[in-house]
């Protein structure tokens, strides 16, 4: 279950986040929807680590292989008899390998980025067009109620559930809505539109 509050400005949105956290929602449950980026911590704190660059690197290796195969492999598999001259050319293979490595790096970056962002999404999600006009959306993911409070050392923020999680989901939602309204939310979005 998700909930999205729309705020006019950063200050009120940040206030809402603060209150939500105080209420017992974890940072991992809260996200901000903005049309221009804010440094981490201005609104919410998120996990700054990302893995897509490993994916990029893997793609780069694949690209190097592809480039080498394209330049050297085809020449070797489909040789043109070139009068006692070497079939595979050294420098050109390097150049083609380089270019294809870069190509795969670039494509890998974009693909990896989208994979990590999980875009495009599989279903519809909460959104409000005002966000593009400078409004700030504060989204909160509400877990099914009754789960144990567990936010220990060995857990990643995503796995950690705040103290409020023991309450039933509806109750969580009500409270969150209330907090956001208090903080100055213009409206609440509960229906997935995007």
């Amino acid at each position: 279950m998700e909930l999205l509050g729309i705020f006019r400005d950063v200050e009120s949105a940040a206030g809402a986040v603060e209150r939500l956290v105080r209420e017992g929602f974890t940072e991992a449950q809260i996200t901000s929807l903005t049309s221009s980026p804010y440094p981490d911590g201005v609104l919410v704190k998120t996990d700054q680590r990302s893995w897509f660059r490993w994916f990029t690197l893997a793609c780069g290796f694949a690209g190097a292989g592809a480039g080498f195969l394209l330049a050297a492999g085809t020449a070797w598999l489909y040789p043109v008899r070139t009068g006692d001259k070497p079939i595979i050319a050294f420098y050109p293979t390097g150049i083609v390998t380089y270019e294809l490595t870069m190509l795969f790096f670039l494509v890998g970056t974009i693909v990896g980025m989208f994979l990590e962002m999980r875009l495009p999404p599989r279903g519809k999600r909460l959104y409000a067009p005002e966000i593009s006009e400078g409004c700030i959306g504060i989204g909160i993911t509400i877990h099914a109620g009754g789960e144990a409070v567990a936010c220990g050392e060995g857990l990643k923020p995503g796995e950690c559930v705040g103290g409020i999680a023991v309450l039933p989901a509806d109750e969580q939602k009500r409270r969150a809505e209330e907090i956001m309204k208090e903080a100055g939310a213009l409206r609440m979005v509960t229906e997935a539109t995007l």
């Binding site: 043109v80 008899r81 070139t82 009068g83 006692d84 001259k85």
Partner: protein
């Protein structure tokens, strides 16, 4: 040339002391190889199709003026600048040391033509026509090149091929002098000598070792298959 995979390495010797510049080779080449007939306009535009040309240079001033003739045809370089630049292998090196050109593969980038320091590659800017019945003269052994491809001297590969077929049929190698390109065949002064350079006893190989020998634009490191023998002219008997 690390290892020889062919018993032949074709080459030519051009004796500039014998060459009189008469032009017989030029016509022989054109006749043998279906080279297009270029009108005045085409040549005025610099689109002459001759595969073999005789360059004429004036040296000195009247009355001590001299003329140098230099027959220039494809040098069949062993490190040919035209070969690596062709993106489609239309220009390639043949196991017999020839610099090949495959017309139907050519896409017409003209890169080889630019990179040939000898400017012996000619491009079919026009689709050449042979008004009937002049087309009867076209040799069936060679493709009539379409427009948009590069063409050049092949050392009359069709003759070499036929000689090889004959020799293979008889289970022997091609004999020295058995095959000659049209230009060497017709040269009245025998200034052009063609032969197998891999056979050190062939006439061409012997002549190519002459102390008079030099290669055209040798400093470029193209290692041509054609050896020029210095022309006389200034020295006396």
């Amino acid at each position: 040339m690390e290892k020889m995979t062919s018993p032949y390495r074709w080459g030519m010797v051009v004796d500039l002391d014998r060459c009189t510049g008469c032009g017989a080779c030029v016509v022989a080449c054109q006749a043998e190889n279906n080279v297009g007939i270029c009108g005045k306009r085409e040549i005025a535009e610099g689109r002459d199709m001759h595969w073999l040309r005789i360059e004429r240079f004036w040296v000195g001033e009247y009355p001590n003026v001299r003329v140098r003739f230099l027959p220039v045809l494809c040098q069949h370089c062993h490190d040919a600048p035209c070969e690596p630049v062709c993106p489609v292998y239309a220009s390639y090196h043949n196991p017999e040391g020839l610099n090949g050109q495959v017309y139907n593969r050519c896409v017409g980038t003209r890169y080889c033509g630019n990179n040939c320091p000898y400017a012996v590659r000619v491009f079919n800017f026009y689709s050449h026509e042979w008004p009937k019945p002049l087309d009867n003269q076209l040799s069936p052994d060679i493709t009539v090149r379409p427009r948009g491809v590069m063409e050049k001297c092949t050392f009359c590969i069709q003759r070499i091929r036929r000689a090889r077929e004959d020799a293979e049929g008889e289970g022997r190698k091609i004999r020295d002098g058995e095959v000659q390109p049209a230009c060497a065949q017709t040269c009245p002064t025998e200034a052009l000598v063609f032969g197998n350079l891999a056979d050190p006893r062939s006439r061409a190989a012997r002549l190519s070792r002459s102390p008079r020998g030099f290669r055209l634009l040798e400093h470029l490191g193209t290692h041509p298959s054609i050896t020029y023998l210095k022309g006389g002219g200034r020295e006396h008997v």
